[in-house]
Symmetry: C2
Amino acid sequence: MAALDAILNDIDADLENALERLFAFLRIPSISTDPAYAGHCREAAAWLANDLTALGFETSVEETSLHPVVLAHKPKPGAPHVLFYGHYDVQPVDPLDLWTTPPFEPHIADDGQGGKKIVGRGSSDDKGQVMTFVEACRAHIAMSGELPCGVTILVEGAEESGSQGLPEWVAANRDKLGCDVVLVCDTTMWDRATPAITSSLRGLAYFEVKVTCADRDLHSGFFGGAARNPIHVLAKIIADLHDADGRVTIPGFYEGVHERPPEVLEQWRGLGLTPEKLLGPIGLKEPAGERGRLPIELVQSRPSCDANGIIGGYTGEGTKTVIASTASAKISFRLVDDQDPQALARNFEAFVRERIPADCSVDFITYKGSRAISLPFDMPQLGAAKAALAEEWGVPAVTVGAGGSIPIVGDFKRILGRDTLLIGFGLDDDRIHSPNEKYDLTSFHKGTRSWARILTALSRG
Amino acid sequence: MAALDAILNDIDADLENALERLFAFLRIPSISTDPAYAGHCREAAAWLANDLTALGFETSVEETSLHPVVLAHKPKPGAPHVLFYGHYDVQPVDPLDLWTTPPFEPHIADDGQGGKKIVGRGSSDDKGQVMTFVEACRAHIAMSGELPCGVTILVEGAEESGSQGLPEWVAANRDKLGCDVVLVCDTTMWDRATPAITSSLRGLAYFEVKVTCADRDLHSGFFGGAARNPIHVLAKIIADLHDADGRVTIPGFYEGVHERPPEVLEQWRGLGLTPEKLLGPIGLKEPAGERGRLPIELVQSRPSCDANGIIGGYTGEGTKTVIASTASAKISFRLVDDQDPQALARNFEAFVRERIPADCSVDFITYKGSRAISLPFDMPQLGAAKAALAEEWGVPAVTVGAGGSIPIVGDFKRILGRDTLLIGFGLDDDRIHSPNEKYDLTSFHKGTRSWARILTALSRG
C-alpha cells in the first residue's frame, strides 16, 4: 500500500484529467423523471460502468423496473468492506431559459469569490459527488495497485424519481451487497470551510392530485358563476393545508413527530443560523413555516408540506376565457422521526376528498414514500471518517441533520442491516434542482482527497 | 331587387359551395392570442378581404396595434345602412390531444341526432357565424346585383385577445363606420329550434397575477418548512376570492350590481332552466356560484370570478422536489350592470397585494376590461329582425341576456352612438373555446337564410 501522501499527490496531479472524465459524464442528459430521456440514463450507466471496469472493478449494468443500476465490486479479503451508493440521474432542467449556459455543456467558471466552480446539471447532484469517490479509488489503485479496503459501488439512475425500483432490486440482490458500512456522497458541507457528516435525514411522501369538474373545458361567459372551477377547488385544498401559524392541518399529521430536547435546541441556537443567514442568500427574509421555531428546526427536525407544482386551464400567452375541466398539483411532505408515510397517504387522501364537491372527482397518484432516518452516534466508522475529514480540511467535521430525503438509506438499514455514513461536499448555494447548478472546484478536489483519506481510515477498522 | 324567395332558393342551391368557402376559411389557424400565429391571422384577413372584393365590396385590410381588420363597403344611397361586425381570429386549440380530428381540418360529421355538423376550430366562433352574413350578401348580390341596404363589414382579428387595438382603430376611423344599426353574429340561439336576439351582455375584466418568492427554484428538502412557496401564496389568494356562499369577497365588487325586478325573475323561472338542464350536459349537477340564485341569474345577471389558468413549479411527468420561485394565474371577472372594470382593477390589485408576504412580490398584467351592455327594447330594428327570424324558424325569437362579453359592442355605442343587434345561430353545445368545436349545418344554412331575410326587413327601415 502506497503512502497516503503519494495518493493525495496523485489526486492533485491528475485533477485536469479527473475534470475531463467528470465533464464526459455530465454531458449525458440522464434525466430520470422524463421517459424521453430513458436512453440517456442508460448511456450514463454504460459510461460509468466502462470507467469502473477500466479501474479493475468487476462491473455490471443491471435492470430495475425503471432505469438500470451500475454495480461494481473490488473485494479485499480480510479487510473491511464498504458499499458506496450514489446516483447518475439528474433533475429536469426547466425552466431552461434561466440557465446562463446550456445545462449539459459543463465547464469551469469563476465563482465570483476568487475560486472556480464546475457548472452544469448534475455537477453537484450527484455526478460530481459520485466522481469524488471514483477518483479517490482511481488514485489508490494507481499508486498501490489496489484499494485499502473492499469496495462495492452501487450507482442508481432513479434517485430523482424516488429511487423507483431500487428497494426491490436491493432486496433481490442483497447477497451482492454485503458490507460493513454504507457510504453515500449526496449531501452538503456545513459551509465552504467545514466538512459535515449527516446523521439524520427527513423522509418524503409525494402525491399528485388531479381534480375534474365539468367533462370539458367551458366558456367562462356562458358558465362563469354556475359551473365549478377545478382551479378554485384545488386552490382551496392547498390553502387549507396550512393554518395561520404555518402548521399542517391534515388530521394526525404530527403523530410521531418528537420535540428536540432543550440541550439540542441550545446547541442549534449556538450555530447562529438566523433567518437572514438561511433565507437571505435566496432572496427571502421571513421563515414561512411553523411560527416560533428556529430556522434549523424548520428544515431539519420538523415536517413540512409543499406544493411542488400546479397546472390547470390556459397557461399560454394572452387571455383565454376558459373554465378548465381539470387542474392538478404535485404535493409533497418532508417527514421526521416516526411519521408514517402510509398513514399520511390515507389521511391526506381523506383531507382532499372532503374538499371535492359532490359532482366533481379526484384522482391520486402516490409516489414512493420514505420514513426519516438517523444514525447511531457510537458507530466506530463515524469516528474514523470524522478524523479523516478533519485532517483534510483542518477543522473538525460537524454532525448535522439534513432536510432532504435519500430514501434508499432506510432500505439499506432494513434490508442489509447496515448504517450509512452520509458524507458530501456540496454547498447550500450549489443550486441543485435549479437552473445553473454548480459544484465548487474545491468541493470536487478536496472531496476526492477526503475520500482517499476515509478509505485509508476505514481500512484500519 | 329580386324576390326574397329567389334569394332563399339560391342559398339552398349554393350550400355545397358555401361550405367549401367556409372550409377554406377554417383551415387557416388564425389564433390571435399566440404571437406564433400572427402570420396566419394576416392570412385569414387576406382570405376574407379577397372574398368580399369578389362580391363587389370596396375592401381594405387595415393595421391595428395587434392583428389587422378587414373593412368592406357596399353603400346604397337612400337606403338604411348596417355595420356588420365579426371576428376571424379563433381560440387556441389546447389541449390538442382531446380533439378527435385535427382542429384545422374542417369537415362535415353526423351530429348523432340525425343531423350534420361542421367540425373544426372557428366553425362556430366566429368564422362560421361571419360567413352566414357573407353568404346572405352573396345570394342577394347574385339574384339582384345589389344589396337591399347599404352594408359595411368590419371583421377583426383580435376578439379572442380582448379586441386589443380595435377600440382605438374604431375611434380613429369612425367616419368610415357610419350606420343606422350594428349587426353582430357571435351569439347563440335559445335552443336548436328557437332563434334569439341577445339584448344584454356581461362585461369582462381579465388579469394575470405572478407571485415571486425566492429568487430561484429551491430544493424542498433543504428549504421546505422555512421558505415561502408562491403556489401556496397564489392558492390562498384564489381561495380567498369567494366566501362560503359563493360570493366574491373583493371589497366593493358588488357596487353597481342591480337586483332584477320580481317580474323578470318570475319570467326567468318560467323558462325552466334548472341546474340539471344547464349543468347536466357538461357533467355537473350543482350550481357553484352565489347560493340561492337561479342558474339563469348566475350566468346572465350576476357577476362572476374565475381563475382561467394557473401554473407554477414542476408540471412534467413524475416528481421533482422543488419549491418554485414563481407561480402565476390568469383571473377574470364577468361584470354586469354598472360595475366598473377600472374600479375592479384597483380593488383586485389591493386585494392581492394584501396577501403577498413582505419578502415576496407580485406582478400584474391588466388586459382590456369592458363594461356590461344592454339594448333599448324599443328600437325599431329589433322588431324587424325578430319578425324576420320568426318567418325563417317558424317560432318567435326570444330576447335574452348573455353571459359572455363582446367588448366592442360597448365601444360601438360610445364611439359611433349606435346600438347593436346580437343575432347568432350558435348552440350551447358548440364547444367553442373547447376541443371539438362544431357548428350545426342547420345553424349555418338557416343562419344564412335568416340574414337574407333580416337584410330585406331592415331595408324597409
